[in-house]
């Protein structure tokens, strides 16, 4: 007898909830392993404090603060640096990137400098920034700016130079020219790419944050990790890293939702 089969599409037979469930279980399993490892002392507790120790450390810094500032103040200080840097990145990298993508000679002016500094590790020039901009927040924000500028700039150049020629021609034949062509056609054409580029920029600035807060800082979530490591407070290090991770996921999710909202025609 021939086996009866229900017709179903190959590959995509399970809903998103199914895979989210698997991810949730995977995280729970990792937490359980962690708990087991700490409880049976498989690893030196200095390397791996128990989940409850980390939770206690988190509760403590959340309530009492860390070295004079509350946890929220530390997070706020870091977020302030990141978001000021991102605001400057967003405006400058997109404006300059789109211009460079459309006008060849402008690109020729900026290309050598961007290509030169882009692969440099931010820490290599951080001490110079401190010399120039002092040990306050300015040098940190400039460092974050420089690290996040290149990825968004390159995205903007690539995206604006690959706007379909028919779309540009069609817009011209509808009477668009000059700056209106940029504002009403080229910018919205690039927007989905630019937001994706912004996601990359957020990732890079976030990664640079700890480095930025290594020098002469007394606040910030990255500084907290480094300061705690001086005293071998691994419970605080773990707690702060988990907080950093969760904040990063939240920012990224917000950006992904924004992308889906402004460009529903792009497949995600």
């Amino acid at each position: 007898m021939i086996a009866q089969r229900k017709p179903h599409r190959r590959g995509k037979e399970k809903g998103n909830a199914f895979y989210l469930g698997i991810s949730g279980l995977s995280v729970l399993a990792a937490l359980f392993l962690w708990w087991l490892a700490a409880r049976n002392a498989w690893v030196n507790p200095l390397f791996l404090p128990s989940p409850s120790d980390v939770w206690a450390a988190f509760a403590d810094i959340a309530k009492e603060g860390y070295k004079g500032s509350t946890l929220l103040a530390h997070i706020g200080a870091s977020m302030r640096r990141i978001f000021i840097a991102l605001a400057y990145i967003f405006v400058t990298a997109i404006t300059l990137g789109i211009l460079c993508g459309r006008v060849r000679w402008i690109r020729a002016i900026f290309d050598p400098f961007v290509e030169f500094y882009r692969p440099l590790p931010p820490l290599a020039y951080y001490s110079l920034l401190v010399l120039w901009f002092g040990i306050q927040d300015t040098s940190k924000i400039v460092l974050l700016f420089l690290s996040g500028f290149a990825p968004l700039f390159i995205t903007a150049v690539h995206s604006s130079s690959s706007v379909p020629i028919d779309r540009i021609n069609g817009a011209k034949s509808l009477g668009a020219k000059g700056w209106r062509l940029y504002v009403y056609v080229i910018l919205p054409s690039c927007l989905p790419d630019l937001l994706t580029g912004l996601r990359t920029a957020v990732g890079v600035t976030y990664a640079t944050l700890v480095a930025a807060e290594m020098i002469a800082a007394v606040s910030g979530i990255g500084w907290m990790v480094l300061d705690a490591s001086k005293y071998l407070r691994s419970d605080i290090i773990y707690a702060a890293i988990i907080v950093m991770g969760i904040i990063a996921i939240l920012i990224d999710t917000a950006l992904r939702l924004l992308i889906r909202r402004v460009s529903p025609w792009v497949e995600h």
């Binding site: 779309r167 021609n169 069609g170 011209k172 034949s173 509808l174 009477g175 009403y184």
Partner: protein, 268 residues
Amino acid sequence: MTMIATAESGGIALNGISLTYNRKRSTVSALQGIELDLAPDDFVCVLGPSGCGKSSLLNIVAGYLEPTEGTVLINGNEHTEPNAQVGVVFQHANLFPWLNIAKNIEFGVKMAKLPRAERKRRVNFYLDLVGLGQAGALLPHQLSGGMKQRAAIARTLATEPRIVLMDEPFSALDALTRESMQMHLRRIWLQTRKCIFFITHDVDEALLLGRRILIMHPNPGRIVQDFVNPVFVPEGEFSFSDARGGQAFAELRALLISQIANGSGNGS
């Protein structure tokens, strides 16, 4: 076959258009000595084998391509850059994906800085004209291929250009949709009496729609036939399938196909 007498005022004139490309050892003559007058209410279909320069000719009239020699005159003024006087409908609808259908149609009128009330009137009028009165709030990706192409036609007409250039606008559609689009276009032309310059490789399409038919041959690209379509129906709607079945239609189709094939056959 008789030439159409052109109206001097308001018409479009191509004077001695030539286009040559320089290759390494030779020059390729894509177009040579094109002379053409179009009346302000003409419906001209251009037929020809691929490589005969019909798309190049359209790009020159649109202002996308600069001819090596010759001028395009619109209402007596030289036309050198794309603008809203010459509308273009592309093979693919080419709508702005971030704007809904109504806003796509409004784009050109907005660029022309017309008052708000007039913009609204035009959007509603042209939405209704192409039979998309209910679809104004939808985004392009939510429409079928035929609806998209109708929206593109409405968007081009809304700026009320002197001439509308169409580059095989229905060739990417399935046969049923294509026929309904041809009926739409005929009705639109009867209502607006807008000059349409329509490139196609479909002989039936040219015979059903065109009041005047041009045949181009390659090497060098030139107009070899220019005649009033004897099976053109000047007024009202008619059955396309009945028309195709007529004896005069069938004989003309066979004649045109052989003439087009002549052009693709001899190389020099």
